[in-house]
Point group: C2
Chain length 340, copies 2
């Protein structure tokens, strides 16, 4: 079996370290691993398959000899460095926003549009975390009845702001727990413990944030639905690392709850967790503490949208997924596996 | 000016103690105050206008001589004791769910349907907290364009489960902050710190919780809109005492954003907090830490619902309000003021 030289750009962040773990877990055929990060981290080591790997400073020359580069850096560094990786002959799977809407770049959730990998020109983008977590369960329902409208409210974890976001929430919980003053927020615009911040990303002229528009823009591209209409409200919540979303869907055609349940129960990447009352010993539904550090999107609270005037065409559900894993690292490594 | 003998049933809970504070703050013409609670609290005291008032055990005979009774007990105690208060000649303003949907009982948010107080037969009900917080800002928009459909996702604070819910979240934050095991949850079905619980109340056959159906059922009665259609998802979040809601509205008639902004800016009980980007030094929007322990519903993130096929008839916004105050005690005391 062929083995590949794989580099991770931004190897020391929350997503980069998870990518390294996912390569090992998913038994990716890595011949040689290269860990690239800022000069500050160069010379330190990370463990891969039981061996310590020395981190190198990220620079264009570092991509020489690489077959696959996984990008876990921010937009600016992605734009600055990843074209050099393509020139060096590598195929890039990038988690930043930098290339996602470029018509020359496929944007891929393997459970939905794995075939789009075929037309890449060196770069494949990994979608936004909240987009992945909403679309993995929306897709099997779309295949039944054709989704045309989504109304989504998100409950997004601190991990969406990376390791510094998680550290900030943990420090705030510790301070509140000890009855001390909450340290000045840096990763977020305001205190997050015992609070909610209804802004993720900058505002556009219509009053939507960049994060809110990703679900419509990326959703249209991934599902090949140029007319998909999405109203999204993104909210940061004091949870460490699983995003949750309240999703209301409108379909082109009728869909029964039984059809929806069956489609979700058989869908790749989805775990249907939706027992209530008489059906089980206790009520069960997805919660962030249960969905953290695993790869599936859990779906529950599946029911009719009783407000939809076309009664048979509305469905609403609740889903949770690990933002660092399926929302980022796991999906990127799944894409890389499509390449080998 | 006439003075009234006022009793609070359930005076020692989170809502009862807040009712006592609201009577004082709103300068309610109290002649005599009676504080009623369980036998366990009888003999203890609470402070009112600088004097200590001894708590009495709640029993039918305790309502003798009362003009107004504020109910802050649970459904079972409300059903058991409040009819005796009516028989004793008092007018009851009850915060429990027990009488809300009784056609003989007005259900009142003073900013919306103060006139309904006129037809009471001894009991007036105070609506559910999440209902009040969503409807206070929905009403001025309804008056412009006629609301017909609401899609709402809630972010509900621990205080909705009363003082024990708040104490449980605080204990969990303290334990997590000290790196200790989270104490076994009692007030909630699961750990709340760093988690979300997408169930408030029991499930009906359609898969909605009792809390979720209140917004439609109570909303129809309060706004006199028997056809109002509401799809609600209620979620408990690790926040101490302000509820937040993501609200998407569909109207009968066109409404511009300018009309919506103007209606909200002039509406009683509402504070429009919606500055972004170039309009202000920094982005501002409602957050639970800012809306706790005050009486207004803060509204922001006001924008078009870009997913609505009738582009001029969809509006979406975010609102926060103190669950114990306007969600319960403040609204009840406002109703009582309509009676005097």
């Amino acid at each position: 079996m062929k083995e590949y030289t794989v580099a991770i750009l931004g190897a020391t962040g929350a997503v980069g370290t998870q990518m390294l773990a996912c390569l090992e877990e998913q038994e990716f055929p890595v011949g040689k691993i290269k860990l690239l990060a800022s000069a500050r981290s160069a010379g330190k080591t990370l463990s891969f398959r039981g061996e310590e790997v020395v981190i190198e400073e990220a620079a264009p020359a570092a991509f020489e000899g690489c077959d696959i580069v996984l990008g876990a850096a921010d937009d600016a560094i992605a734009k600055q460095l990843l074209p050099a990786a393509v020139e060096a002959g590598a195929t890039v799977v990038d988690n930043s926003h930098a290339f996602r809407m470029d018509p020359e770049v496929p944007l891929v959730i393997p459970e939905i549009n794995a075939d789009d990998v075929s037309w890449h020109k060196g770069i494949i983008s990994n979608p936004n975390c909240a987009t992945i977590i909403a679309l993995v369960p929306t897709w099997p329902l779309h295949k039944v009845a054709g989704v045309k409208r989504m109304i989504v409210s998100t409950y997004q974890a601190a991990s969406g702001a990376g390791a510094p976001g998680m550290a900030e929430l943990e420090a705030q919980i510790a301070a509140m727990g000890r009855g001390e003053a909450i340290p000045e927020p840096k990763a977020f615009a305001a205190q997050l413990v015992s609070n909610l911040i209804p802004q993720i990303g900058g505002f556009d002229d219509e009053g939507y944030t960049s994060e809110e528009m990703k679900l419509q823009n990326e959703g249209r591209k991934i599902m090949h639905l140029p007319e998909l209409a999405v109203c999204c409200t993104c909210v940061r919540v004091p949870v460490l690392r699983s995003h949750s979303e309240s999703v209301t869907l409108e379909f082109e055609r009728d869909i029964t709850l039984e059809e929806a349940r069956e489609a979700l129960a058989g869908a790749p990447g989805v775990k249907l967790v939706d027992d209530r009352g008489a059906e089980s010993a206790h009520d069960r539904f997805p919660m962030p503490i249960d969905t953290s550090d695993q790869d599936l999107i859990w779906v529950g609270r599946l029911r009719r949208d009783i407000s939809n005037p076309e009664a048979a065409r509305g469905i609403t559900f609740w889903c949770c997924g690990d933002q660092i894993r399926k929302g980022a690292a796991t999906n990127a490594v799944q894409i890389a596996k499509l390449l080998v």
